[in-house]
Symmetry: C2
Subunit: 444 residues, 2 copies
């Protein structure tokens, strides 16, 4: 943008949202990877968002929607970013009917704020993505962002029943419903979830809720061998035990979570009625005995707290790089070991979280140096993992990396034969490529 | 198609699938509404389907995919139909891992054939659309076709985890996965489900299965007033009773289902462990007493049988017209009465099935005459119902009607602001409009 154009755009944005709600230049804190947006704007209503997008569309300015900003650098490097559009002022709970187990919220409403309102009704949205303490519900839906509770509750995508979206040209549409899913036409709803702000700006999200559990507990199994923890996990999965989360955690991560127990561990979280939690703990104890695994039990607040810490792990441990491998559940430990081997030399304080029930493995750590050699061996490791796992229906996504690495590797990997269709979709929804251009698969 | 062109197309189709698998002209039984396709083709593999579509794409011939054909006239009148593409020969179960609770089948595999294989493992796909005895799984997915079990098990859409699709130009793509949902990119999978063959030809469908219940029973509550049956339904919905299906049935439909009981009824189907079924029946009995409702109980085979009959109701009763109203669940009985009033004069043997748990109301019957006056008053009734219910987030879909009515009314109703987006989607997936052109919302 030229200086004169920026002046004009700033005046127009001020006319839409008021002077107090436009920042120019964007403060350093709003940088995405190594790019600074020209302007940051804080609209208060979906009408204002529509007006901002009409303006951007007319002038072909790139707009990046943002919730809390915690996942802004998830994705390929942006081609350009003119306007950062924050939903910080759109925090209202629009409808909440405890009897229906449904709610409709503005995109900027945080998960914590919503759950605080739902908990007195013994209901909640069972999402626990990284930094869940700050996450907005619009951001969670846009990224389809999940954490350990995915094991028992599914992804946010499964809980989104409807959306209000502002399209790239400023048109406001509804997709899906508020209560029942009696949509006519194509099911657009799920298409926006997990599209990382590349198809439209989510302004309102309708969720179905879950009953909040009466009690909770976490059992931690310790061992020095992954194989024995894995067989523990497999036995749990085949038993009547129904953990809400099941996670393999390596020594480095455990030392940050429970400094007294810096060992490999399997964590199982139970969220149930009080008697069911007691029963499951007993069963877990018997399992530990039969496998000669060391066992620690955490109840209620202590249980909640360790999972919260796990969601903040990348703030407890230095994390320059974070990969997500997704493989068939039976291959979880194999993938975890392969990832560890591939990155062992380039990552320090390498921490691993792996869900044996879903086949999701997260590996993060601190780059041992910023030198060319280190960077290129990380890139090689990513390519190597992708090649190895492609044959076993596995995928490797780079969830977080410095721009120098993102410049050399598509963070999403190959999407195969459906790429032309995805390209056609992007073109149908956003022909001028103004929404988060470059961020998504193959630089869509 | 000119005669010469038809000759050439026939030869090319024969070269792809063999002489025995091309019909020309299409027999009367393959007519869709009042249109007869020029050719019917029966491919055996997805490669053959791809070849048929490449041919059709090059020549801009309209292709309509077909499973059992039971839902072929669901939708607006086709603009044109050159080739009817039947999946009748694609009936294989490709993968079925009982331990994973997932299966992958060819589109032409029937629901019954699959469930026959799954039942010895005590698993099933809990779908019960109309004519479930003939339905193919590809057809069920393409139409997102549901029946009473939607109440307890959700729609087929919720159970589809992945697809293989042949696009309009013959490209084969996969959407979603086979086991876990670790897709990268836009979630295309759900877009094809319920798209009525207008975005691509489903050739392979991956489902997640459910455990098959140990026992079953149905309680029938009878009364002369909808209001009392409705309050019974509401009490069931608010109790710990967990019916898999809950259905209000009018006198006409009941007289076809159980000739001894031609009264208004509320049917609740329980599918559970044996003790849970007994418990729920007891609770249902107590409920009937407290509301002074007459009660009949059907167990096991008798229970199964009444729901099967209900799925064949339109074969038991003459059905020229069938509407689906979907409203907020609390408005079910109001919608049912409004529909009855609106169609009372033009429909004989008017039968009503309504799900008070999901707000779906089906009304069907026999047109009292084929005269202009009757037809135009049916069209007026549809418009009237749409106008009345639009304000209450209700929708009216014409599931079945003679061509004379379809010529005057869009069977899908208004889809609102998302229409341009749906149009753009159709254009992105099928720019030449060769797949079931005209059938979908707004004649897409």
């Amino acid at each position: 943008m030229t200086l004169r154009e920026a002046d004009r755009v700033e005046r127009e944005l001020v006319a839409i949202v008021g002077e107090a709600n436009v920042l120019r230049p964007a403060p350093e804190a709003y940088a995405i990877d190594d790019r600074r947006p020209s302007l940051v704007v804080f609209p208060e209503t979906s009408e204002e968002i529509a007006a901002v997008l009409r303006l951007a569309h007319a002038r072909e300015l790139a707009v990046v929607p943002m919730g809390s900003g915690r996942r802004l650098s998830f994705g390929n490097l942006l081609e350009r970013v003119d306007i950062l559009l924050s939903t910080r002022r759109m925090t209202r709970i629009l409808e909440y009917e405890p009897a229906d187990l449904t709610a409709s919220v503005e995109a900027g409403c945080t998960l914590m704020a919503f759950n605080r309102v739902a908990l007195p009704h013994r209901q909640w949205l069972p999402f626990d993505p990284p930094d869940a303490d700050r996450a907005t519900l619009g951001g969670i839906a846009a990224v389809d962002d999940f954490g350990p509770l995915r094991h028992g509750y599914g992804r946010p995508r499964d809980a989104v029943i409807g959306l209000e979206v502002v399209q790239a040209d400023g048109t406001r549409i509804r997709a899906g419903g508020r209560v029942v899913k009696n949509v006519t036409g194509y099911d657009l709803n799920k298409l926006f979830v997990g599209s990382f702000g590349t198809l439209g700006v989510l302004v309102r999200v309708n969720f179905k809720l879950r009953p909040y559990p009466e009690a909770e507990a976490t059992t931690l199994f310790f061992d020095s061998e992954w194989e024995r923890l894995e067989s523990g996990a497999r036995q749990i999965l085949q038993s009547e035990l129904l953990p809400a989360a099941l996670m393999l955690v390596n020594e480095e991560a455990m030392s940050a979570l429970l400094p007294d127990h810096p060992r490999k561990a399997l964590l199982a979280r139970f969220l149930e009625t009080a008697p069911a939690v007691v029963y499951q703990m007993e069963r877990a104890k018997a399992l530990a005995r039969s496998l000669s695994l060391e066992l620690v039990e955490l109840k209620d607040e202590a249980s909640r707290s360790i999972w919260e810490k796990l969601g903040r792990l990348h703030r407890l441990l230095p994390t320059d790089l974070r990969l997500r491998l997704s493989v068939l559940p039976a291959h979880t430990v194999e993938a975890l070991c392969a990832g560890e081997r591939a990155l062992d030399e380039t990552l320090a304080r390498l921490h691993i979280l792996a869900q044996p029930g879903t086949g999701i493995v997260h590996i993060g750590g601190e780059l041992t140096s910023a030198e060319e050699r280190t960077l290129s061996s990380v890139v090689q490791a990513i390519h190597h993992l992708r090649r190895t796992w492609a044959a076993h229906r596995g995928r490797v996504i780079v969830e977080h990396a410095p721009p120098e690495i993102k410049r050399r590797v598509d963070v999403w990997g190959d999407v195969g034969a459906s790429l032309p269709l995805m390209r056609a979709l992007k073109h149908a929804f956003d022909p001028k490529r103004i929404l988060s251009p470059g961020r998504f698969v193959a630089g869509l």
